[in-house]
């Protein structure tokens, strides 16, 4: 058995923050209209952890990570807020050459679809070599040797032959390994994995997650996963941040978020999972659609879809309420004045079987 919740909480108290996002606002302009994709989101990332950002499509989870890699689309910009990395405010970066110091070198990224992430017309080896040359300062034969080594590390056998092959000669899972190899060749501090397994079959998914886990230990990486698959989250995450409508509404240790969710959205999301449902009975279904980000949002963005919404949710935006030193959520339900609510039965069951200690401590 792994560490207890108390040990984990203490351990996080001593960990060093590697990236601090504060009140970040990211906007896009689309056909003359302004869209607020990230609405004053704050998040700390600790060195060496694996953090999962969960949210449905359009919740802004990809935009958030792109904003601290300088990879927002041309029509998007950081409107306010800060992103601190090694005492530098990345949010103030304006020039490509500033980002060159960060991208790849400090923070590398892998993407969802391995089928389109590689240049189809260049050999796999040369694409990895590019990264090696950029960030490891190796040239020619030495760079080539380095590529062979990385290929073996990501589980691609016969690297000398594979080096010369083109992406179309690789299967989906193998291509994703190549993409990971490119990221590893950068020797980054932080690795961002944007839905790394969504496009893959389950059995291959598992292998890729194992590989990422192995590499994280090997290179002492901080890994940020972006995903919507709560199964994957449970597998890889030390901590989980839940995003809804451009804001991080709940963040905590994986155990805390799964066994003791506080925000109604997190609760609803978990109880809508068929894995936690009871066969023959209805699942909990979240009605409606996420809010339109072109419009200004008042109060809690989730309120219109929330059957437990308070009147205040429609008027005031909730601040973070602390649940434990490592767990906080933006919901008025945590305000002392709020009425008490029952946890959904699916979560109660989950907790009573696996996570009773989570609540006991706090």
């Amino acid at each position: 058995m792994s560490k207890t919740i108390e040990q984990l909480r203490q351990e996080y108290g001593t960990r060093e923050k590697i990236l601090t996002i504060e009140d970040l606002v990211v906007k896009f302009s689309l056909r003359g209209e302004e869209l607020t994709a990230i609405r004053q989101a704050s998040l700390d990332v600790y060195k060496g952890e694996s953090l999962c950002i969960v949210g449905e499509s359009g919740s802004g989870k990809s935009v958030l990570t792109k904003s601290f890699m300088g990879m927002l689309d041309n029509n998007g910009w950081i409107d306010s807020g800060s992103v601190l990395y090694k005492e530098e405010d990345l949010a103030a970066y304006r020039f490509e050459r500033q980002w060159m110091q960060i991208r790849g070198k400090e923070i590398a990224m892998i993407f969802q679809d391995p089928m389109t992430s590689l240049n189809p017309l260049r050999s796999v080896g040369s694409q990895i070599k590019e990264a090696v040359e950029l960030h490891q300062d190796l040239r020619g034969e030495a760079a080539r040797e380095a590529v062979y080594e990385i290929l073996e590390n990501v589980g691609i056998a016969d690297p000398v032959r594979r080096y010369r092959q083109y992406p179309f000669e690789f299967s989906g899972g193998m291509r994703q390994r190549v993409v990971i190899a490119i990221a590893m060749a950068c020797k980054p501090q932080i690795l961002v994995c944007d839905e790394p397994t969504t496009a893959l079959d389950v059995t291959i998914q598992a292998q890729i997650l194992q590989l990422l886990d192995k590499l994280q230990k090997m290179y002492d990486l901080t890994v940020i996963y972006i995903t919507h698959d709560l199964g994957v989250v449970a597998h890889v995450a030390d901590r989980v941040a839940v995003m809804y409508a451009g804001d991080i509404i709940e963040v905590g240790l994986s155990e805390e978020v799964f066994y003791n969710p506080q925000h109604p959205y997190t609760m609803n999301l978990l109880s809508s999972l068929p894995q936690l449902g009871e066969k023959g009975k209805d699942l909990y279904a979240i009605k409606g659609t996420p809010p339109n980000l072109f419009k200004e949002i008042h109060g809690d963005a989730f309120a219109p879809r929330n059957s437990l919404a308070l009147k205040v949710d429609f008027v005031h935006r909730p601040p973070y309420f602390t649940v434990s030193p490592t767990h906080k959520a933006k919901t008025w339900l945590l305000d002392p004045r709020a009425p008490k609510v029952e946890l959904p039965s699916a979560i109660k069951q989950l907790r009573s079987k696996w996570g009773d200690d989570i609540v006991a401590g706090s």
Binding site: S2, E56, S57, D201, V202, T203, Q205, A206, Q207, L209, Q210, H228, D229, L230, G231, V232, V233, A234, H235, A237, S254, E255, F258, N268, L269, L270, S272, L273, P274, Q275, L276, G277, K279, D282, L283, Y284, A285, I286, K287, G288, T289, L350, W354, G355
Partner: protein, 317 residues
């Protein structure tokens, strides 16, 4: 228990694409039945041929070999006009991608009525409208949506429009081809609940095609596992999840992540290597290992499976 009525029988079904050297065997000699009122889950990875089977049943993909029987009558290959009409009406399909499966240039009214126009299943304009309204209400949509275009709806709503389009035909069997895998997690429950509720209310039968085993477990009565165009195992849902026999099934089951960190971190994954089978000299057969539990194996393997199975069954007791 009286033998349940077989609604659909698939016998030795094979589907090949292309010819000559480009020939690709998508489905190879597949056998299964769907009983009236049940949900049969069909699980497999991409390229396993599961979608091809579904499409062969609704006759979008032509069959190469074998037969598909609906209520005892053959519906594969060339069939009579009358039967064609009837089958078109009785077997409906729900598609994977709610963004792609609705005609963007038509209003919801036309989309839902499309089947009615084809079968002329109404006497007057009012009756048609009434049927559309009824179908929309039964999937939890508002009748006023009929005058809108698909653009205006969210993924979950669009998927329900797709369901309404099938319901209006009064189908008996619905082929649901990955109906929730393109939906956001928060919306999946809507569609799963709807399908279950319709099954209860209207006595529908489903063939539920998916790659996500956890969803299949929740929704299906029986599950068939397909690998590279062949069904390798078929059993009642709980039986299959508790006592998987075929190594592929085991591998697949062990690979599903569960939303429970403490369980998930300890999960072991069994890798499956197809070369473990010695099928060249000793080809496999479709055999019953326990009542209503079938597996694809040759005699030699079967021996091992049996021993293991009995072992497990004892443990379970």
């Amino acid at each position: 228990m009286p033998a349940p009525e077989k609604l659909l029988e698939v016998k030795d079904l094979s589907v090949h694409f292309g010819r000559g050297r480009k020939k690709f065997v998508a489905v190879h000699k597949v056998n299964f039945d769907i009983f009236k009122g049940e949900t049969l889950g069909l699980v497999g990875e991409s390229g396993s041929g599961k979608t091809t089977i579904g499409r062969a049943i609704v006759r979008i993909n032509p069959t190469t070999d074998g037969q598909i029987l609906f209520k005892g009558r053959c519906i594969s290959g060339r069939i009579a006009r009358e039967l064609d009409r009837e089958v078109t009406q009785k077997i409906q399909m729900i598609f994977q991608d709610p963004m792609a499966s609705l005609n963007e240039r038509a209003k919801v009214d036309y989309i839902v009525s499309e089947g009615l126009y084809n079968t002329k299943n109404y006497t007057c304009e009012e009756e048609r409208k009434e049927k559309v309204t009824k179908a929309l209400l039964s999937v939890g949509l508002l009748p006023e949506f009929a005058t809108r275009f698909p653009h205006e709806f969210s993924g979950g709503q669009r998927q329900r429009i797709g369901v309404a389009r099938s319901l209006v035909m009064n189908p008996e069997l619905i082929i649901a081809d990955e109906p929730i895998s393109a939906l956001d997690v928060s919306i999946r429950a809507q569609v799963i609940n709807l399908m279950n509720q319709l099954k209860k209310d209207l006595g529908l039968t489903y063939l539920f095609i998916a790659h996500d085993l956890s969803v299949v477990r929740f929704i299906s009565d029986r599950v068939a596992v397909i690998h590279l165009g062949q069904i390798v195992e078929l059993a009642d849902t709980e039986e299959l999840y508790e006592n998987p026999v075929h190594p592929y099934t085991k591998g697949l089951l062990s690979a599903i992540p569960v939303p429970n960190p403490r369980v998930e971190r300890k999960r072991q994954i069994h890798a499956y290597d197809p070369s473990m089978h010695k099928y060249a000299e000793n080809p496999p057969k479709w055999m019953e290992i326990a009542p209503r539990h079938f597996v694809l194996a040759n005699e030699e393997e079967m021996e091992g499976y049996r021993q293991n199975y009995n072992h497990h069954a004892k443990d379970a007791i």
